[in-house]
């Protein structure tokens, strides 16, 4: 790619590679809409210069699974989480990162990991339930 080295990764994904699943929200790592994975960890792509990625693997919402069958995506469907949907790619990527780090999260774990992903539709309760469902847990609804 022939892009400026300080171009945010988000711009590269959306404007250069046409991977528009990852969203622009605040542009300063405040909302989580732009969350992708680098390695297994979540990263806010709006504040990461593409040159800082190096040769590390980047996973976007498009690459999380083939056919949207990742357990988190399926749980999102089963719990009917989405309203407007704008923040949801970031929410799903954050949830997937949480489950990689902690396979059986508590409500407190979910709150700590996902509080930095804002949803103006207020789907937080269903997000929490969907994370529990993706983890194979029951009783997560509150």
């Amino acid at each position: 790619m022939d892009v400026p080295e300080d171009m945010p990764l988000l711009w590269v994904l959306r404007d250069v590679l046409s991977l528009t699943g990852t969203k622009f929200g605040c542009g300063m790592a405040q909302c989580g809409a732009c969350t992708v994975h680098i390695g297994d960890g979540p990263v806010r792509s709006c504040v990461l210069p593409v040159s800082a990625v190096g040769d590390r693997a980047v996973t976007t919402i498009e690459g999380l699974s083939a056919g949207a069958v990742h357990p988190v995506q399926q749980a999102w469907i089963d719990e009917d989480v989405v309203q407007c949907g704008y923040c949801q790619p970031g929410q799903v990527m954050a949830a997937a990162a949480l489950l990689k780090a902690k396979a059986q999260p508590t409500d407190a774990d979910i709150d700590a990991a996902l509080s930095a992903n804002l949803c103006r539709c207020g789907t937080y309760q269903r997000i929490r339930a969907a994370v529990h469902r993706a983890a194979g847990q029951t009783g997560g609804r509150s």
Partner: protein, 192 residues
């Protein structure tokens, strides 16, 4: 013979005492003055915002609670699924990104929960006791603390905090010299 041996031992002891006196340590007064420089830096927002007693780091010069419900996590690297590195990369974002972007430095983290190395809201005497206690500094003794002050890259971020943040007001070389002076004076602690 016994008397001669005793005199020799006495002479050796006096000689050792004389050598100690020939290389006097810095006096307590200069040590305490140097510690005030150390305290001024350690309790600057760039340092104390992460040296906190609770589980939530602080941010900005007014030390407000970090946004996004950010947590220390057990190892100081953030909560499971929301590590510090989610937003804090290994260097500051380019200046073209604007002010108050998440800053960056290598190994961005807080002290671990078991040894939080609290700097904030302590009296000078309490801060001094904390720095001298390896149980509260993650096992660092004073030479290790001096190395931390002088060479740690994350500590160094305090002098290059990125757009929109005040750097530590004391040059790093001055801080390092003050820490060494304080150590050499026997690391005296203020009484208050």
């Amino acid at each position: 013979m016994r008397t001669a041996a005793g005199l020799t031992a006495l002479a050796l002891a006096l000689g050792a005492a004389a050598r100690n006196q020939a290389a006097p340590k810095a006096d307590t007064g200069s040590g305490l003055a140097a510690f005030e420089t150390v305290r001024k830096v350690f309790q600057h927002p760039r340092c104390q915002n992460c040296h906190i007693p609770g589980d939530a780091p602080l941010q900005f010069d007014d030390g407000r609670t970090h946004g996004q419900n950010v947590k220390r996590g057990p190892d100081g690297q953030g909560a499971a699924g929301l590590p510090c590195a989610t937003c804090h990369q290994s260097r500051n974002p380019p200046a073209s990104y604007g002010a108050n972007m998440p800053p960056g430095a290598p190994n961005w983290h807080l002290p671990p929960a078991r040894t939080p190395m609290v700097f904030i809201a302590l009296t000078p005497g309490q801060l001094c006791a904390t720095i001298k206690d390896p149980a509260r500094t993650g096992g660092k003794d004073l030479p290790a603390m001096l190395d931390h002050v002088a060479n740690d890259q994350l500590v160094g971020w305090g002098w290059d905090p990125g757009a929109g943040r005040a750097p530590v007001p004391v040059p790093r070389a001055e801080l390092t010299a003050a820490f060494r002076t304080w150590m050499d004076a026997g690391a005296p602690c203020p009484t208050r």
